[in-house]
Amino acid sequence: MGLKSWDRQRRERQARLDAAAPLAQGKIVPTARVSALLRALIRPGDRLCLEGDNQKQADFLADALAALDPAEIHDLHIVQSGVVLQAHLDLFERGLARKLDFSYSGPQSAAIARALDAGKIELGAVHTYIELFARYFMDLTPNVALIAAVQADHEGNLYTGPNTEDTPTIVEATAFKSGIVVAQVNKLVDKLPRVDIPGSMVDFVIEADRPFYVEPLFTRDPAAITEVQILMAMMALKGIYAPYGVRRLNHGIGFPTAAIELILPTYGEALGLRGKIATHFALNPHPTLIPAIESGWVEQVHCFGSEVGMDQYMSARPDIFFLGQDGTLRSNRLMCQTAGLYACDMFIGSTLQIDLAGNSSTFTNGRIAGFGGAPNMGADARGRRHASPAWMQAGQEAAGEAGSLVRGRKLVVQMVETFGEKLVPRFVEELDSVRMARDLKLDLAPVMIYGDDVTHIVTEEGIANLLLCRSTEEREQAIRGVAGFTPIGRGRDRAVVERLRARKVIQRPEDLGISPLDATRQLLAARSVQDLVACSGGLYRPPAKFRNW
């Protein structure tokens, strides 16, 4: 066995570090040498993570990488959660990168579909966040990670600030498997507010020519919430949160869940639910949660990332949020996703399309939007072994009379208005994503949340409790029974739907004692972004595009 060497990766790493050493003073590389640094450290065929998180982007390094010569650097395998910048697409358009494994694309969803169709991208898979993170430690470990932090000191210690997000996970996988970690920072300082990433895991630090970009993704303007969404929010509170006593949960980012957050202090209070529901959240810091926090509803919130404008507010609420000793938020996507998967009793979010089996997707024609975290939030965790009243009640309902050994179930609630923009029905026979998967010859049709994980569907017409359905036919009729005037809804069997209603499988607003006439914007604890600012005592500083004063 003496011929086998066991440190090939380490020697490879050392050779690259040696090549880059003349460019640096210790770990610090001058801004202008960014291209030379990347050329010294990156080799064709490398597996590379160019930190693109849900929010934070290593945009300075992305631009520098995308400008390199494809004759020198090519066939990169990009493994990162977010593909959201033009530079990310340029890597493929310019022939620097070939293969892609990612989670979320957002604004680049159409460009990715086009590049895929044109053969510019060889797609590994579209993952969920923790699924991709898991593969960092199995078969997609990066050779090089280009990451973003707020500040570094001269030892290479990093302060990632409120948007820590994916950084610890990326660095963990790369640094401990002979990979190379390069950090772009907004500023070099002598002393950091706190150390988020120890310098021993960081090889080079380079000051970017501008602060890294963060997109405000989780701000929903209360002024845009409709009365239909408020009606759905009332039904969700009275028909799901209250009877199951849901305390630990995750909210999606749509307007219907923003409406729920904003009626907790009004409608929820009137129902006497404070302290009984919605006390612990795995959630980005939604500005619309401020009134519920301020009125004492929320006990604690752990965050995947941060949100533009929320930093000061969170720093002033240390009992609610996870903060460093320096007083600023520490987010962590991996930890928060894990909390959402195993420690939440409910996921509730909106979707763009839902089929007769309850499968839903946000991949619409010509767009590969990715999954982000929703599939993990919106899936029953089969490995969960701790009981809670909400989880047990859901399990009991699913088992019906049959169960002697009953396991619990996570509540997975889809809120969907029957018609979307331009009066396009949200309920469909076949998801767009299924057709797209056929057209693009994907191995797996992209489904955001599988029907067998969905427990409830809330529309303006009512709530369908799929846990109580005893056959595929009942499920289909329960879904048709809340699908309103869409073709799917009009295809219902009235007699069956009425029987389901008698069994409370379907509940209309009137069955829940809710009058649609009460669903007015007066129920919102804040009706505008300005109200949110006032509610926060001026601590919330909304980004310019959300102001109307």
């Binding site: 002024a223 202090p265 009004t266 409608y267 209070e269 009137a270 009460d518 007015t520 914007r521 007066q522 129920l523 009706r527 505008s528 001026g538 310019a544 595009k545 959300f546 102001r547 109307n548 004063w549």
Partner: protein, 305 residues
């Protein structure tokens, strides 16, 4: 169900529909709508574009009492096509103003909430605006006080901005915006360097109610409440200036002075600085009480309009 605010009549002006504004401005129960939705007067143009019309064409007109005094009221529905002026929409307002002049009504409350001309109706919409302007002048000449109220989502833009400026008095709230070319229009035509429409703080500093009131582009500033607009209208009606050659010349002189003094300023903050009226904090962030304590430009209080 007795949650805070539930089932209570909302007093928020910004949130209210045009009909709620018309009713809320007047004495309770006194509003009579003319050509209401039951008359089904639909725009003759929208159907050609496969657009759904509204049975009131986006404007509510009628009569009622303001503290016992007979007045007319018109309220645009900013949520229907941005409150834009079409042929029928404009005709309803022209008719109301002419009736006010003919019947010597003391005042017309004009709740503007509009982006200007309804593009689909093009020339018919432009003509509607001209006819409204003529009718306002005629009504004012006949002694009617025409009071513009601006505090809705759409503001008063395009021809709506010109209409506001030709009224006897303008009352505005913090959400209200008054201008002719909208922020996006300026950006499209002159470039983002000239005006960044996404910098919403800038948009409100230049066109918003607080700035307009401080600089004299509006005569009264009120909180975002229907009752506050009503109180301000009651206060302004007796002070409505006559529409005479002298008042026009005075207004022209005032505006020329302002242009000479502040014509090169690119932002409202520069005007305040030049006028020596630097507010203690960004004007938008002041509480209503602190804002009320600010002094206006010396020439903002005038009797010209």
């Amino acid at each position: 169900m007795n949650a805070p605010g539930m089932n209570a009549q909302s007093d928020y002006y910004y949130e209210a529909s045009a009909r709620e504004r018309a009713q809320g401005l007047l004495d309770p129960g006194s509003f009579t709508e003319f050509m209401g939705p039951q008359s089904r007067c639909l725009s003759p143009h929208l159907a050609q574009f496969n657009l759904t019309g509204a049975f009131d064409d986006g404007i509510i007109i009628g009569a009622g009492l303001l503290q016992g005094m007979p007045v007319y009221v018109a309220a645009q529905e900013g949520r229907f096509m941005g409150g834009a002026f079409g042929e029928l929409h404009g005709a309803k307002l022209v008719g109301l103003l002419r009736a006010a002049a003919a019947h010597k009504i003391t005042a017309v409350l004009l709740a503007l909430d509009t982006g200007g001309v309804r593009l689909q109706e093009a020339n018919a919409g432009e003509m509607a605006i001209s006819e409204v302007l003529r009718a306002i002048v005629a009504a004012r000449r006949a002694g009617v006080a025409v009071i513009a109220l601006v505090g809705g989502r759409a503001g008063a833009f395009g021809g709506g901005g010109i209409i506001a400026a030709s009224c006897s008095r303008i009352i505005v709230s913090g959400h209200g915006r008054i201008s002719v070319s909208g922020p996006e229009v300026i950006e499209t035509n002159k470039g983002v360097e000239e005006f960044d429409s996404k910098d919403r703080g800038l948009v409100w500093r230049v066109t918003g109610g607080r700035s307009r009131a401080l600089l004299g582009g509006a005569d009264a500033y009120v909180a975002d409440r229907i009752s506050a607009f009503r109180d301000a209208a009651l206060a302004q009606i007796p002070n409505a200036p006559p529409f005479t050659l002298e008042s026009l010349q005075a207004e022209q002189a005032r505006l020329s002075q302002r242009l000479a003094a502040y014509g090169t300023c690119r932002d409202a903050t520069e005007i305040w600085r030049q006028a020596g009226l630097e507010p203690p904090a960004p004007v938008a962030d002041l509480s209503e009480a602190d804002y009320a304590g600010l002094s206006r430009l010396p020439e903002a209080d005038h009797d010209a309009r």
